[in-house]
Amino acid sequence: MRTLRNRYAAPLSSAVVAGLLLAGCTDPTTTPSGDDEGAAATSSGATEVVVATGGEPDSFNPVLGYARWGDGKIVEGLVRLGADLEPEPVLAQELPEVSANGLTYTVTLRDGVTFHDGQELTAQDVVATYEAALDPENGSPVAADLTALESVEAVDERTVRFTLAHPQSAFVTTTTLGILPAGQVDATSPEDVVGTGPYQVDGYRAGERLALTANPDYWGEQPEVTRATFLFVDDDAARAARLASGEVDAALLPAQALGRFEDDGAYDVVRRDTADFRALVMPEEGEVTGDPAIRAALHQGLDRQALVDGALAGAGRPAYGPIPPEAPEYSDVVEVEVDPGAAQQGLEEAGWVEGADGVREKDGQRAAFTLMYPAGDTLRQNVALDVQAQAAELGIEVEPEGLSWEAIEPRMASDALVYGSGNPYNADLSTYPLFHSSRAFQGFDNPGGYDSAEMDAALEAGRAAQEESERVEAYATVQEQLAQDLPWVFLAYVEHDYVIESDTWEGYDVPLVEPHEHGLQGGPWWNLPSWTIAGG
């Protein structure tokens, strides 16, 4: 090969390098505002953090659903919900003043707050942001929270008044919506999203990363961690790999991938309780799934704790209803003593008797149904597999089937589905869309087509309640109805697991109960601005 090497080796190897450099040098993905020198100058370890979260949020505009619970680091709402789920004022000077009839909420804005671009926060900005969320053209998911809001107006430069069509006891929790400058409410790219938060955007690559730096003009306390980079890594495996190779300091990881990190002292595993439930949607129309005896048998016979220990690898807790025990609306009426024997007996009594193949039958109908789950979601797949195994013990045949959401949607009326949702903040949101008959088969709302007049009345009462006690009572009825009709079989609240480099930062371990949505906002970095540097 001598001649070959002599003559071609140099150009070839330089071609390899050149090919890569070509890719590198012409890399247009850095934003022009991306400040490389700054990055180099402040590379003092602990003041910077690199986080791998799940997929990129669909939008960084709060109007389009970003930071729905007011925990955005870039944008801030009038109020936010603390770790104890109590609202606390942020851009509002204090919590909203509610009129006696419960129809007007008046908010006075905090003084001296400026947006990242230097504009001062005014009432007009608040009004514009809420109006954009209400505009059906925007298709804002926040609109669902604001169904009661009739109008919003600026009383003066510093005062905003919300007028409701009907009383809504939980309205304060919806004023968490992040406020944008009036002229920029339709921003789509994160670079255009200008907030008032402790961090501002300092570089963004679509689908890859978002870099934040501390906002020097922040109205509140300056964060100790001055730079944070969020990597959007959809793939659990890739996230684990990048954490293992030391590229990132913290990451969201499924319980199955924790293995090595749990034993490794260099990492701290943060496990958060959640209101993020998984449940089986039992369609009303299904011959088997609609049968009360079958539902009751599953409700009583499925061992939630075994499911948590197995399918969830311990990262979860049993769930019996949509409202988590931490919430004031929670009622223990939904809870059940797991007893497979009693469940079987109930089936026998209802006429479901064991057939030749071990599957029960009633009037020629086999106790068998298909359980759909979104393909690629390992966790829901595991839940489905565990349900299959446990149901088989009861004599019920469950056939899991992984499908795309497109394929799932048209079959929701007939086939059971592993559903995930839930939030600890707002009982209305975690029940009304799922169980009110008017929402049957609207998008992914009320997927089983559950229809009960008592339930509808209770949901409406809960929504309209002004007094805390009134609301708690209404949701007690809701949960009673759920326990009675069992339209869904609730299985578990999934715990969210995060891995973070240990002994570098402090203050991230707060007793937070997370909602279904997590990633950029949730996790240990939920309160990133109040982290402190360890030993510092």
Partner: protein, 292 residues
């Protein structure tokens, strides 16, 4: 031949080309090919009854042992059983896709070949441009598009593989037909008064079919590869019809947690399966090699 006086020339074995003859003779023979071919049968037989395994999460991620030679997966299912079932799915998808694409290829190639020989060069030209066109498509990307738009299912995976791979067969059949038109034995039959049907049924069919069978078998590993790639990308078969690609895809996270077996061992089985089918094709090759 007189036995005495003959000798081998000294140093002949060290000539640069000395090995070429041996290699040609050895190609396609040898017991290990047969052993690998047996693997295919084994997979088909053993994979048959292994589909319905219940999850048992207490047995999750057991490393390979005597009881579970491939270990267990995240749901505590025996990976060997699952891999064999997955291999059967992969093999069936590969076979059906290869068959479908061969049928399309035979129809197009047969049409082009017989029309070309009757002087209908325009149709032949058009069909061959079509073949060029399909060949010019990036197979996996097209497969991704088809599966994405039709929704992931057995049918769309087979379709996406078949639609992109029939061109090889079409070219082969056409070329074979054209070559056979000029083959001495066909001309001899024509000269002896044979008609088209006689030549087609007595001579051409057997030759072309032999080639097509070979091409089909050799296409199976390729189709398996495509299927597993699609499944791996999350665009292939759903988890409950797990093929080897799906199993490997589901094990990606586990690998990082130190559970290497769910990804590595089914992958090895996939390699062995492809090699086995390929070897089977190589065994068929001399049998279907008619001329030359």
């Amino acid at each position: 031949m007189t036995a005495e006086g003959w000798r081998e020339v000294a140093g002949a074995r060290s000539r640069p080309w000395a090995g070429t003859r041996r290699v040609v003779r050895r190609a396609g023979s040898g017991p290990w090919w047969i052993a690998l071919g047996g693997l295919v049968v084994l997979v088909l037989l053993l994979g048959a009854g292994a589909a319905d395994q219940r999850a048992d999460f207490s047995q999750a991620f057991l490393p390979p042992s005597a009881e579970h030679p491939f270990g267990t997966d995240q749901a505590g299912r025996d990976l060997l059983t699952r891999s064999l079932a997955g291999a059967r799915v992969s093999l069936l998808v590969g076979l059906v896709a290869a068959l479908v694409s061969s049928v399309v290829g035979v129809v197009v190639g047969g049409l082009a070949g017989s029309l070309a020989s009757r002087g209908r060069g325009v149709v032949d030209g058009a069909l061959m441009r079509l073949v060029d066109a399909v060949n010019a498509l990036p197979h996996l990307v097209l497969g991704i598009v088809i599966v994405a738009l039709l929704g992931p299912s057995l049918g769309s995976v087979i379709l996406s593989v078949a639609l992109t791979h029939w061109t090889t067969t079409a070219r082969l059949v056409r070329a074979e037909l054209l070559a056979l038109q000029g083959a001495g034995f066909v001309e001899a039959a024509v000269g002896a008064g044979a008609g088209r049907w006689w030549v087609l049924s007595r001579h051409l069919l057997a030759h072309v079919l032999g080639r097509v069978v070979l091409a089909t078998v050799l296409m199976v590993p390729h189709a398996i590869m495509h299927e597993s790639a699609l499944s791996f990308l999350g665009l292939g078969l759903p988890d409950d019809q797990a093929s080897l690609g799906t199993i490997i895809e589901q094990s990606r996270t586990a690998v990082l947690a130190g559970h290497w077996w769910p990804a590595v061992l089914p992958g090895l089985l996939l390699v062995a399966l492809s090699l086995a089918v390929f070897a089977l094709g190589e065994r068929l090759r001399p049998a279907s090699r008619g001329r030359s």
